[in-house]
Symmetry: D2
Subunit: 359 residues, 4 copies
């Protein structure tokens, strides 16, 4: 329990950061879908550390292997098993973590919950776990794009105090990928890069906000009352490491408006019912209304820093801890394809669920 | 699909706002728990409209009926079926809604999804649906309180522009219930009441933020990786009507801190491992760490207002709509016990799930 | 957990034999289906005790109430809540069962599992629990019949030593309902009635076998590998009280054939692929192949008898027990509509699941 | 959907007979359990083809790989990923099956359901799929044995017309493994071997019955009403390839007894409540009562035979088919560890579920 997500398009991820590998089993993928291994690899490359000078230089070439479910380039309708082997360059690098809990990591809670943990890295709480999500999300993305013309784009909206003004309606994947920090607003992107470099040099870290927009979602996705589309998207986002909050449409700022300002009035756009504004973020009553779905996800600053911190040992003695090596001072840019993956998984799952009610 | 929540303590709600009634079936409640019908009724009374002068005067005496699962005052371990009959005073009051979609309500999305809707009120999207949640939550609350000493308290943190400074650590249920708007900070409460009355007189509505704190949660609740405690709480909150966002611990503001500021350093408090700060909101790696869990939920301003709005009909013609009668200009105070109910349901479900791993 | 069945067409039953009532919540029913209350009532009447001179004279008029999910005669796509109130004529009739476990009933196992039980009758293990199944099954039957032309017919194949030769291909519901024991073979039916009367007069009871055939099931229902159609049907049947076994197609006797005798060879019937024989019972690889699905379910003799039996008390003392009153010496005829209900629920659930893979 | 089994101890299998490999992800395994890779390999070796002269000589050394979830010999509480690579010696051997449906195989139903299939062997419907089940079952067996002293033993009860008289109470694993056909009754075993060799020489195949007994199951396992222990065991067994029926305790023969003969009377055995007989097969009301659980599973004769059979092509033309090579004329002996694996998985899952209700 806990390692599966989705109902009809259901993924089960497995793997620790050190040990054999990480992977995912995708159950419920429709058959006869053309899947290109390169499409999956491309998404994995987007989330990989060491993509550029900003982030952790640890070079992990995460080569995806397709173990089942695809035959002569097409899905069989059977489970698709995907995996990436771990390459443990230097297991000793983590020796000092064997007995000490890193602040704001999951070391302590895992140890208490399970009475055991793989202390060679983050174990199951490592960001490597998201490899399986991204690989499965790539399959969902393929189906959504080819069969439904649905497009999901995420980008960095904020790093630390720098907030980018971004035109949600016109942004493209290319705009996003041009920026080292995946912020499509050039000036903000430059400032963010500056901040990240500064934090890196100080051995400190930064948090931020990712915004995600999903276009061309048909009306009617989302199951009342508990499996509302916004509820499942919220769960998907809050299941990611380091996320602290999620808001849809007008979000927390929407609380500052009066009902008469916030309500999205209807009008006819040709033969299509549309809303003049989109404070609702593309969902009403938890069900998609055909407008763009959009939401923002808050990520805390990376827990791994290189400053001395107070901690305790597994023997419950107070101690101090100072991480060594080089790490990623700001994971948000790498989290962009992960947010997209989770959004794609949720949308596709709801599309399949909604078929139930169609003739 | 969509009307059940939880895994081992699992609720299924049913019912539209008009028609026979609303209710809930609770499956998986441990046996031999003493359940007092009054405890359930008390929580229902807290969520009921017409409790005071501020809110909708529609008097709904929601009398709970226990139909199964309890024998001689104790749970049997079998499903507990609870229901409340609807009292449809005036079905004609909704006649004008038969063919017109209310802006920012679920009328349009339900109609498109299902090809049919009960237009006599909000149907399944009505806040009446939450009666089942609150009744089930009252049972969860009883178990958490008696068997685990866990306490969950929610309160209004913000109404429109008024934000209350509240000491999360010391607040009690009594403090909350003293205020008409369930804001335990006297000055803020008075200002909020003023705002609500003003909005009511203008036929407009207000949104706001509820904060919720859960105390004495043991270390180890939450299932990595998808069923993190924060993920399930997020889903629970975003499954509520009118919610626009949820944030845990430092939340969106936490993105403004550096890692060295945000990390919660460990220390020993007697023989207990604790953190000096609690930016993490009581969870690390999605698992409870023994500190208070706290989060905030944003509610949009109530969609029902008495100002003229543009809309379209089910025949896809543009029209104008003006609601009549009297309604609740600010639902946040009534949502407080609903937020608590959902939090209690999530915590209890995870407590039961976590027993799996215990000897 | 344990009181729900199905995935996309999902039912949750509740209720003890004594207490408020019994009922079911149906989640996932497609919208806009015309549901006639009489159709549900008719199926309930078929399972009711006291239908004729053979069975228990306890007259339970189980009047169904529809509490939600249906509006102006059509399904809304929201949960359908159905219930029947209990009428507890004589709770004292069970006083002697408070402390003594009836042999081959669930008294002992419930008491040990839950530490408590409703001893006023069978509680949750009573056959009254199946009311919810039959009511939900009536809805499934309506959909299968109207939208898919699928027909499910069960009948009594065996009572004690009397085995009826029945032509599975031609049998109709009318043929079945003509017989007091729901055995459509006249001579066998007469012999069975004789046996049941004899057992009744002796205070003893009889078991038997129900056979069920489902016609016009499309090719492709059943999800490999665990949710095979035969696997879900088997679970459905073995979830019924008093069932001891289930077999599909050739069943246990099929083990006596050689592969060359048992294999169902293919041939073309116009443009339809068919099999010359149907030892497979309409499923291959756990997936329907378009031939008639058929299976048999074994029911043990009713546990309630009026002869003196050895037992123990809840205080773990040995004792003797002799039931009083009048009961049903052979429940098989009443179980016929219950078997049909479960089969209809499984088939419909799989039909909806299978839509996932269709364009 | 369809490729996962269990709720708290949940397995997801993947893989086709040809292609990358086959495997399983086990989610929900308690932490700190010592797992010996050899214990898993031993069970796989029991199910492997080519173990002895009777069965298919295709030598598949199914070497298990543990990819995650185990650290320094103990379970982490995280998903355990296990896999075996396929070794496709001769893919051309199946060329003639590309366009022709083998009678009583799943070729036709898969092709119709999915519009595509991996025709190089049985694909997902191959018995190779059970490798994942057996590997996961070996972990369950370890836990049941070490922590609960529960023992599950299956054996061949019948091959074709030869039925072995076996003393269910005294049989041991060693007794079973001594026999080439896993029938612990020497004379019957010899006769069965003779029959199998005869069928093999004729290019024909045989079916039979496996009986399984589970000892030391505590009272109270099984969730009323749908997730009865017998219901979940039935689903587990009917999810296996080639199974045609399952019966518990007295089974179909129990229908021939009167209630007074069939009821299991209680008595005190020291301070333990026991039953004098065990017609119920160790469960009452679907809940274990502490007596031995036992059941029988019917397997049809293997569908693959070497005699000429009528069939049709995927282009819907009638044709004849004659398989080549060498195959297993009687799979029952190899199915013995698979039946055990499924039983162990069900029992462990229910043990973990039942913890919910314990203090």
């Amino acid at each position: 329990m806990g390692n599966s997500f989705g109902r009809l398009f259901r993924i089960t991820t497995w793997g620790e950061s050190h040990g054999g590998g990480v992977g995912v089993v995708v159950d419920g993928c429709p058959s006869q879908i053309e899947i290109n291994e390169d499409d999956i690899q491309k998404e994995l490359d987007r989330r990989r550390p060491g993509q550029n000078k900003l982030v952790t230089p640890r070079d992990e070439a995460d080569n995806i292997q397709i173990l089942s479910g695809i035959f002569e380039g097409k899905t069989l309708g059977t489970p698709i098993s995907l995996m990436v082997y771990n390459k443990d360059a230097n297991p000793k690098a983590y020796d000092n973590l064997k007995d000490t809990f890193r602040p704001s990591h999951a070391d302590f809670t895992y140890q208490k919950k399970y009475g055991i943990r793989n202390w060679q890295g983050g174990g199951r709480a490592s960001a490597r776990e998201t490899i399986g999500r991204v690989a499965a999300g790539a399959i969902a993305k393929t189906i959504l794009s080819k069969d439904y013309n649905i497009e999901c784009i995420a980008y960095v909206k904020q790093v630390h105090h720098i907030i980018a003004e971004i035109d949600r309606d016109s942004i493209s994947l290319e705009d996003v990928e041009k920026s080292l920090v995946r912020c499509p607003h050039k000036e903000s992107s430059d400032l963010m890069i500056e901040q990240v470099e500064k934090a890196r040099d100080e051995g400190d870290s930064l948090g931020g906000v990712i915004e995600c927009v999903v276009r061309n979602v048909p009306v009617g996705l989302g199951e009342p009352v508990f499996d509302k589309l916004k509820a499942d998207l919220a769960k998907a986002m809050m299941s990611l490491p380091a996320t602290m909050g999620v808001e849809f449409g007008s979000g927390f700022d929407g609380t500052l408006l009066m009902g008469s300002e916030h309500n999205d009035e209807f009008y006819m756009d040709g033969d299509r019912v549309r809303t003049k504004t989109n404070h609702s973020g593309g969902m009403q009553g938890g069900i998609s209304n055909g407008e763009d779905i959009y939401f923002r996800v808050a990520f805390k600053p990376t827990a791994t820093i290189f400053k001395k911190q107070s901690s305790v040992t597994s023997a419950q003695k107070e101690t101090e801890l100072q991480a060594k090596g080089r790490h990623d001072p700001c994971v948000i840019p790498r989290a962009v394809p992960i947010v997209e993956a989770m959004a794609n998984l949720v949308i596709l799952d709801h599309l399949l669920i909604n078929k139930r009610n169609q003739q």
